[in-house]
Symmetry: C2
Subunit: 90 residues, 2 copies
Amino acid sequence: MSEENIIYIGSKPIMNYCIAVITSLQEKGDKVTLKARGRSISTAVDVVEVTKNRFLNDLTVEDIEIGTEQLESTDGRMRSVSSIAISLKK
Amino acid sequence: MSEENIIYIGSKPIMNYCIAVITSLQEKGDKVTLKARGRSISTAVDVVEVTKNRFLNDLTVEDIEIGTEQLESTDGRMRSVSSIAISLKK
């Protein structure tokens, strides 16, 4: 019944994603998953830590998974990129 | 009795760390932990994925922990930096 609640982390400022996490947990239930690829993986970890330390002290990390995804680059070749999925619960 | 086996991930090429992981698992037992801070967090995930996909298909991720560490910057002020610890088992 409950749709999985996902926030994709890209190159926006960290605080934008923190607000997205907080809003999501207020409006859409007590779980949210952050997903990121490549260099944004570090940003995803920053978002979790800043949200937990500054805004939601009761936020817990339920699960962290890492993997590899295949992306088609602009020249049409496939390349591998690392990914992370961080499941959070309030 | 068994010392924890840790590889710190920094700004060297990914393959250097892959070799360090493989060597460690050959010489120092079947477990190794990768630790990284800040932007190197993405590199740590890359190292795990490349090592697993290209060299050691039986490598498994046992645990991933994220956190915040306090570092003293060059001007003497403390700043927070995100960290990751990825525990691997062969």
